[in-house]
């Protein structure tokens, strides 16, 4: 039973990381119709930015230092995302396939650059001890990192929901996801909303990259982690429904849990370590074939 609880919590934490990535992807696709493959690079860059900052801060061992590290990760993701939208996506407005292709190229180039700069070996990030520690709750030992990840996921979900419901740009983004032309026909400059959505998505991705390194990779960053995560984030986005934040949240939890449950209970026994991953992929296939627009998606 205690194992079950521990596994469930780790599944939820994993889901939170997926949600952070998927939320940005979902917003970007919903509003702009762009499948952003460069998100994986935003992730990895966030991780490295966090590592770089943590290197400079001797106080990285403390709570405030960790916040700075996380902030740096989010900022790096946001900056690269904004640059991507302005320089690469905008010139290709109206050409959806070309936009997807350019993000693929960017991802390839950025990961290559990081491999060249840092090599394929992992680097360790300095983090406070309490992040990598373990807390015992009612006899169950749960890594503190799981709480951090889940908390971050919840916080971002709350912030995004507030943003979408309460601010003018939130309304623009929701309307634009339904009918971009009509938003323009009402006099709104959707270009600014595009850049905003990319930036927000990039920030969340950067944060996710840092959290993933810290919580799931033993506080190590390496250049290829982003792309591995990205595939799962895509799966979450599509299962949840492209363009739906709530859908991404729901799907993220489902995917995270399925992955850990199957991986532990079924795969561990049969020596099939990747069974958890396979099952997630098959869930995607099933959802797509039964309900192509995803669990909570609107009409595509």
């Amino acid at each position: 039973m205690t194992t079950f609880v521990a596994i469930t919590v780790s599944g939820l934490a994993l889901g939170a990381v997926y949600f952070l990535i998927a939320a940005g992807l979902s917003l970007i696709y919903g509003l702009m119709g762009v499948l952003n493959f460069a998100h994986g690079a935003f992730l990895t860059l966030g991780g490295y930015a966090g590592w770089a900052v943590a290197q400079q801060l001797t106080a990285a061992r403390g709570g405030a230092g960790f916040l700075l590290t996380a902030g740096a990760a989010a900022l790096a993701g946001a900056a690269v995302a904004a640059a991507t939208e302005l320089l690469l996506i905008r010139p290709l407005y109206g050409r959806q396939i070309a936009q997807i292709l350019v993000t693929i190229g960017l991802d390839l180039a950025l990961v290559g650059l990081l491999l060249g700069a840092f090599g394929s070996n992992s680097r360790a990030i300095g983090v406070p001890a309490w992040v990598t520690g373990v807390t015992a709750i009612g006899g169950v030992r749960i890594p503190d990192g799981d709480f951090v990840a889940f908390g971050a996921g919840l916080a971002v979900l709350g912030a995004l929901t507030w943003f979408l419901r309460r601010t003018r740009y939130g309304i623009i983004i929701r309307a634009g996801a339904e009918n971009r032309d009509m938003v323009r026909a009402l006099g709104v400059d959707v270009g600014r909303a595009f850049t905003l959505v990319f930036t927000v998505g990039g920030a969340a991705a950067g944060l996710a990259g840092l959290l993933n390194s810290v919580v799931f990779s033993g506080a190590l960053v390496d250049p290829t982690q982003g792309d591995q995560l990205l595939i799962f984030a895509f799966i979450v986005v599509v299962i949840g429904g492209l363009g739906s934040i709530a859908g991404s949240a729901l799907a993220a939890v489902v995917v995270g849990l399925v992955q850990v449950y199957v991986g532990f209970y079924a795969g561990g026994g049969a020596g099939l370590a990747q069974l958890g991953n396979v099952s997630v992929v098959l869930v995607l296939a099933v959802v797509l074939l039964v309900r192509p627009r995803g669990l909570l998606g609107g009409s595509t």
Binding site: I97, L101, L106, L108, G112, I231, V278, L282, L284
Partner: protein
């Protein structure tokens, strides 16, 4: 295929209406256009006899034209050119963006490998069973995946390809060798294909394979079916209105493309001698093939071939350069990006998407038009 595609006897006028404009060149092309590819083919065919040295530009460790290094790289280029051609039919001609064709490539390499190395079959039966497996897989998954369109289709094909990757990595029943891959047992292969002298033969095998694939692709895309593919790419509704059932045509395109990928996987195995998940089943391969086709020019056939050969060549060449001793003395801001072929290829790809959307074939077309004075 008649029943599946709802009729293959379409009048010419209808076909032209379907596609709007005639997309392919018909009539008698100028002698230059027929001669150029034949000359290139002749050069490639005679390459193994070119024993002279050429400085700097060759991708292998030895700077002689017909060295093993050069032949291996070019052979690999031919294999990927075939896979890229298949992908171009699906993406460039039929307009279906699939992120999962690597699954069939992997099937080709791994099933053949297993048949040869684990079951110890002879070459011909092994090839046959691999082809059959590839066909069955493509039919089943194609029928499944094609139930959805657009982004959903791209994602579901990606999903199945990833599932394949994970399954291979898991090494079920010790069949696939997991991460390190499965080395091909050469025991029952004809002697011309193994051993020291085999490099040349494998090179020619890959070249002949490419020529065959190109011919088959040319026939398919110039046929009635090919024109319907073009029509589907433009607008499915138009095709439906004219009494065709697009699903059958889409499935045909998918299976065609997948079979070429499977065949490519088989030749790959013969050339390289090992099937490993990272080089045969990962999304890296998917991305590479996509880049090859876009660099070469989507929907132009010879563009896919050119793009693939250039890509494979560049990748090996850049790695060679980065290993040169003089390279290490470059300042870090230059050395770091240049040492990674992925970075350069990614940048070139982005530049092409932004500024040269027609790819190499598009550029060549523009040059030709300018020379013809238009």
């Amino acid at each position: 295929m008649t029943g599946l595609t709802g009729g293959s006897r379409l009048p010419e006028a209808v076909l032209t209406r379907l596609t709007g404009q005639r997309q392919t060149v018909t009539g008698r092309p100028g002698w230059r256009r027929v001669a150029a590819p034949l000359v290139v083919l002749a050069i490639f065919a005679l390459l193994p006899f070119a024993g002279f040295a050429v400085p700097w530009v060759l991708p292998g460790p030895v700077d002689v034209v017909n060295s093993a290094g050069t032949l291996e790289v070019l052979g690999l280029g031919f294999v990927f050119a075939s896979v890229a051609l298949g992908f171009d039919v699906l993406f460039g001609f039929t307009g279906l963006l699939s992120f999962g064709q690597v699954l069939y490539f992997a099937a080709g390499a791994y099933v053949l490998d297993i048949a040869l190395s684990v079951w110890h079959w002879a070459l011909l039966p092994a090839l046959a069973v691999t082809a059959a497996a590839g066909l069955a897989l493509a039919l089943v998954l194609g029928a499944l995946c094609l139930r959805v369109r657009g982004i959903a289709f791209a994602m579901v094909t990606l999903a199945f390809a990833q599932a394949g990757y994970y399954l291979i990595e898991d090494n079920p029943h010790g069949l696939t060798g997991g991460d390190t891959g499965l080395v091909m047992a050469a025991g029952r292969l004809p002697p011309q294909l193994v051993g020291v002298a085999s490099t040349r033969n494998l090179y020619w095998l890959a070249l002949v394979f490419l020529v065959a694939v190109y011919a088959v692709t040319w026939l398919a895309t110039e046929s009635v079916t090919g024109r319907v593919w073009l029509a589907i790419r433009e607008s499915e509704r138009r095709a439906e209105v004219l009494g065709l059932r697009p699903f059958g045509f889409r499935l045909a395109s998918f299976v065609f493309s997948s079979l070429l990928a499977t065949a490519g996987g088989m030749v790959y195995l013969l050339l390289v001698g090992t099937a490993a998940p990272a080089s045969v089943a990962s999304t890296t391969v998917t991305i590479s093939v996509l880049v090859m086709v876009v660099l070469g020019g989507v929907g132009t056939r010879w563009g896919a071939v050119a793009g693939a050969i250039v890509y494979v060549y560049l990748q090996q060449y850049l790695l060679k350069i980065a290993a040169e001793p003089s390279f290490g003395s470059l300042p870090a801001p230059l050395r770091v990006p240049l040492s990674q072929p992925d970075f350069l290829l990614g940048v070139i790809f982005v530049l092409f998407v932004l500024f040269v959307p027609g790819g190499i074939a598009g550029l060549a077309g523009r040059v030709r038009l300018r020379r013809e004075g238009r």
